[in-house]
């Protein structure tokens, strides 16, 4: 089952590679990983998207907690949560018809066009994995110049923090 795990860890050199190394050394799956500092400058927050049966997920969480620099681990999928991913998408837009169509899709997906040339548009779109995926599927592979995805980041619903 797919899980979204949030990890707070000391913002120290090597901490990221400890987590990544743990996943590869123990053969755990990893679909996405995003990390950045939090409001506390010495703490980073990492969102890991993984999958496995309950026993594997339990081990992943325990092994993450065992890392010396890890402060807190939460399986967000255990409760209500919100996931978001940002994608930057550069597509060919040459003919008038093509340009209009890209613009329409951008509007429907409430995405922004953040760069324009006379042959291309670059879109910024934010949403959960499903939304982002469905947008990407609207474009023919030959039309897509470049795709950059941040991977999922997530937060629990409600007033409480992690």
């Amino acid at each position: 089952m797919r899980r979204v795990i949030s990890v707070m860890l000391e913002n120290e050199a090597g901490a990221l590679s400890r987590v990544a190394g743990l996943f590869s050394a123990r053969g755990y799956n990893i679909e996405g990983l995003s990390v950045a500092p939090t409001d506390e400058e010495d703490v980073s927050r990492m969102t890991i998207v993984t999958w496995g049966d309950d026993q594997i997920i339990e081990q992943i969480i325990k092994q993450l907690r065992k890392l010396i620099e890890v402060i807190r681990v939460t399986d967000l999928t255990e409760g209500a949560h919100i996931e978001r991913e940002m994608v930057l998408l550069k597509v060919q837009a040459e003919s008038g018809e093509q340009r209009a169509e890209v613009k329409r899709i951008a509007d429907i997906y409430r995405s922004r066009i953040i760069d324009v040339t006379d042959t291309s548009y670059t879109l910024e779109v934010t949403g959960d994995g499903q939304k982002v995926q469905s947008l990407l599927e609207l474009f023919d592979a030959s039309q897509v110049v470049e795709v950059v995805r941040t991977g999922s980041t997530a937060i629990g619903r409600g007033s409480r923090g992690m």
Binding site: A13, S17, R18, Q59, K62, Q63, K66, I71
Partner: protein, 562 residues
């Protein structure tokens, strides 16, 4: 007071009460060696290979319970230390290893003797640090000792660039260390402990299975109390031997791949299994589905990740084994140990299994049987020696035939299975206990993996007794080839062996050899009363196998017996 980084390293070691460091000098650690030279509180033991330094520090730690300390240079010094670190990591040995590193300005530039030590050692240490500023050095070393010794212990590497050991800074050693992200649980959950004791009191076919955690956690006394109080049978893992007296009637021997018939059968048929400081390793469980299939399982361990990793348990208890066992003892005193007569049929069954005498071997052979050497070693040393071993058949025979009375008497590489561990570990143990009888049980394959340490033994006059069970084969490999590869002995016959007697003598030691069973005891007695290193080369039956044996992938009750 301002000190150089090198002096700070040495001061920190002194503050931590370190009396012995095992190491090997090189360019990147020269400042630290200079600082060691100028003092006399921390003794340095010069090994002949960095792997030897780490194993010696492990042996020292396993024998004493103190943190073992190693010191090696950058690049090849650190990479040679890796096998030792991985060995200590698998067996949870508390260690601090200081590695030199090229100057910070050169890191990443492929400098001479540069290796990414923190990168390389990350998966084989509990934690590691690269110290980039001398002002962080003292606190980092304090953290390293704290992390190494607390929780589930393990090795910690502190990588110190040469310019950091040269730089000066004000020194003050922190009296304590706080890590918000690292707070191991000590006290077990009271409710869970109560549940466990209730289960034990009602058990009709109980079994206690303990591992290295009881030894590491200094909980042998508490364990012995509890097991005697409850009148339960007890088995130890390879790492757990000595955690319960091996000569006690309630002890049923080691369990697992080469465990006794009675231990493995009791595990298979028990109704309550109490696992303490053990981790359900594959060499212990055999086929998981057939491991203790009828039992409610209680598992006490300080490492939450060890619980329900391989085997789903019913009553998990996270905590320090000593603290949890103490509470269990109190509770058992209060509630009583349960109706004693209920255990009679179970003990009768165990005695029946025991009467199979699964460790028997041919005593009328004209060849020296390795088992016989170990029996005699046990007799001659009156079961009191500190025994180290290498890895292979001799290791299993030592575990089966030497009945360890106390914890920290049996030192071996159980998890990683590192050949070459035995001799340096014996040197470490002998450094810690100069007057103790220390014997290294080894084979002609393993001993050659770190035989250069005979030179270290000479330099420090360490009277270790090497018991070389020389059968001319990599015995365990040969055994598997005989049983599972139709006797195709691919590369397991070791041709061109050295003359071990002459070799020992060339290092300045005593060498003895025999191939006659009648000479074994005399030779051992002579060795044990000689105050020098004695290398005993026993030429043994080349075809002897270790039994019982649970074939890989089989259940514990599917043992092959002699």
């Amino acid at each position: 007071m301002k000190l150089t980084g090198a002096d700070i390293v040495v001061q920190c070691l002194q503050e931590e009460g370190v009396d012995t460091v095992f190491g090997y000098p090189g360019g990147a650690v020269l400042h630290i060696y200079d600082a060691l030279f100028k003092q006399d509180r921390v003794r340095h033991v010069l090994v002949r290979h960095e792997q030897g330094a780490i194993h010696a520090a492990e042996g020292y730690s396993q024998a004493t319970g103190k943190v073992g300390v190693g010191l090696v240079t950058s690049g090849p010094g650190a990479t040679n230390a890796v096998t030792g670190l991985a060995t200590a990591h698998m067996d949870s040995v508390p260690m601090v290893v200081i590695t030199g590193q090229v100057p910070t300005a050169q890191i990443g530039n492929d400098a001479f003797q540069e290796a990414d030590t923190v990168g390389i050692t990350r998966p084989c240490t509990k934690h590691n640090f690269l110290v980039k500023d001398v002002s962080e050095l003292a606190e980092t070393i304090k953290k390293a000792f704290h992390i190494a010794a607390s929780g589930r212990p393990g090795p910690v590497v502190v990588d110190v660039p040469k310019d950091v050991s040269a730089a000066e800074c004000e020194f003050s050693y922190p009296s304590e260390v706080h890590l918000r992200s690292y707070n191991p649980t000590i006290k077990g959950h009271t409710g869970q402990i109560k549940k466990a004791v209730e289960l034990m009191r009602g058990a009709e076919r109980p079994m206690v299975y303990t591992g290295g955690g009881v030894v590491l956690g200094d909980a042998a006394e508490e364990l012995t109390q509890l097991v005697r109080k409850l009148n339960f049978p007890v088995t130890n893992t390879l790492m757990g031997l000595g955690g319960y007296p091996g000569d006690d009637p309630q002890f049923v021997g080691m369990l697992g791949m080469h465990g006794t018939y009675e231990a493995n059968m009791a595990i298979t048929h028990c109704d309550v299994l109490v696992a303490i400081g053990a981790r359900f390793d594959d060499r212990v469980t055999g086929k998981i589905e057939r491991f203790a299939p009828h039992a409610k399982i209680i598992h006490v361990d300080i490492d939450p990740a060890s619980i329900s990793k391989n085997v789903e348990v019913d009553v998990p208890i996270v905590g320090h084994v000593q603290s949890v066992l103490e509470e269990m003892n109190q509770l058992a005193d209060k509630l009583g140990a349960g109706e004693p007569a209920r255990l009679e049929p179970w003990w009768a069954q165990i005695e029946e299994w025991r009467s199979r005498d699964c460790l028997r071997y041919d005593r009328d052979s004209g060849l020296i049987k390795p088992q016989f050497v170990l029996e005699k070693l046990y007799e001659v040393t009156e079961g009191n020696a500190i025994i180290t071993s290498d890895v292979g058949q001799h290791q299993m025979w030592a575990a089966q035939f030497y009945h360890f009375k106390r914890p920290r008497q049996w030192l071996n590489s159980g998890g990683l299975g590192t050949m070459g561990y035995g001799l340096p570990a014996a040197l470490g143990a002998q450094m810690a206990y100069p007057d103790a009888a220390v014997a290294c049980v080894t084979g002609e394959g393993s001993i050659q993996m770190n035989i250069q340490e005979l030179s270290t033994a000479k330099q420090y006059r360490l009277p270790v007794k090497v018991v070389n069970l020389n059968n001319g084969y990599l015995g365990m490999v040969r055994q598997w080839q005989e049983l599972f590869y139709e006797s195709r002995y691919a590369e397991s016959y070791v041709d061109a062996l050295p003359d071990f007697v002459a070799l020992a003598e060339s290092y300045g030691h005593v060498g003895l050899r025999t191939d006659k069973p009648g000479d074994v005891e005399g030779l051992l007695r002579e060795a044990m009363t000689t105050d020098r290193l004695v290398f005993m080369d026993f030429v043994t039956d080349p075809e002897e196998n270790v039994y019982p044996m649970v074939p890989a992938g089989a259940g514990l009750d599917e043992m092959v017996l002699v």
